[in-house]
Symmetry: C2
Subunit: 192 residues, 2 copies
């Protein structure tokens, strides 16, 4: 549980701007450090964010709260990409951009998967709610593309999951390898 989850304080005041800014910086610092792959200390996150360790603990009372918040944020970003690309892009372009974002999410997730599993055990709702949110995102983009006639009708969200999951099982992929594999997946999705 973090203080960000209430946009107002206990007196009904909106949260301070500097507090919101620090919260965002902490999340971004944590994400970057988790993705760098070395063991990430709380001290390192606070330093990277440019705040004190006490500030970090004010926003995230335990280490596992950081892990959970980063993950929630990542899921939310994927969902936001889904909504944005459906609004703003041609359907084929939408699924292309979305797939890249989804793969980035999945690769990022792998970097702190052990700790994330501990977060799921502690808070099973996190796992189920996130999966539901992602299902909605994948479904939205896929079905929009199918209605537009640019993606085969017989594909399901689970199959998209399966394809992305398979490619993310590989050892660390280079950007080029990612792009190539996504291209292959997209070729498979395309209406012939």
């Amino acid at each position: 549980m973090t203080i960000q989850e209430s946009a107002t304080t206990s007196e009904g005041r909106p949260q301070r701007a500097d507090a919101r800014r620090n919260h965002e910086r902490l999340l971004e610092a944590a994400r970057e450090l988790f993705e760098e792959g070395a063991d990430t200390s709380m001290e390192a996150i606070a330093k990277r964010a440019g705040v004190g360790i006490g500030t970090l603990y004010r926003h995230f009372p335990k280490r596992i709260d950081v892990v959970e918040a980063v993950y929630r944020d990542d899921v939310e970003q994927v969902a936001n990409v889904a909504e944005r690309v459906v609004d703003e892009l041609e359907p084929w372009e939408a699924i292309d951009v979305f797939l890249h974002a989804f793969v980035n999410y999945a690769l990022g997730k792998r970097r702190f998967l052990n700790e994330l599993r501990e977060a799921f055990e502690k808070n099973p709702e996190l796992k189920s709610a996130s999966r539901e949110r992602l299902d909605g995102a994948v479904g939205l983009v896929l079905q929009t593309a199918q209605r537009a006639g640019v993606v085969r009708d017989d594909l399901t969200s689970d199959e998209i999951y399966g394809l992305v999951g398979s490619m993310c099982m590989s050892a660390l992929l280079t950007t080029e390898q990612c792009d190539r594999l996504i291209g292959l997946i997209l070729d498979g999705l395309r209406v012939r």
Copy 2:
């Protein structure tokens, strides 16, 4: 890597009896504490084994070496049970006893799964060799029972894995629940 892996010292002397005894006690203490489910410190393992922390570190240079050694030992015990039951018991009784041992192994594994995953990442051969060893054990008992005509011919080792894996996904099972589920599995295996 632990000192137990050579039955002699560098001078060719057999390993000391007290050292072998301490090694076994440390493994047993670690297994018991992992199964009790609370976070297990190295200090607690050494205390439970009745040795000093320096002795523990002489046998297991890092914490992850304890995890790996307990797991290797568990796998070896399952394999030994397979060989013993095939030798000493009637085929139906053999698969019954083996299945109990296999389920106990799988439940025990869950208790330190996060740390075990880290061991697998560090040493992928551990995972593949253990899986191979277990495959051999399951295959031995299953095929012996099939040849004896007491278990259906159409079952594979993978299906045994699947059944045991499913039941071990449950939240903590009581001994009664385990026995009941194993009974159900055995009913499914039985030649009709």
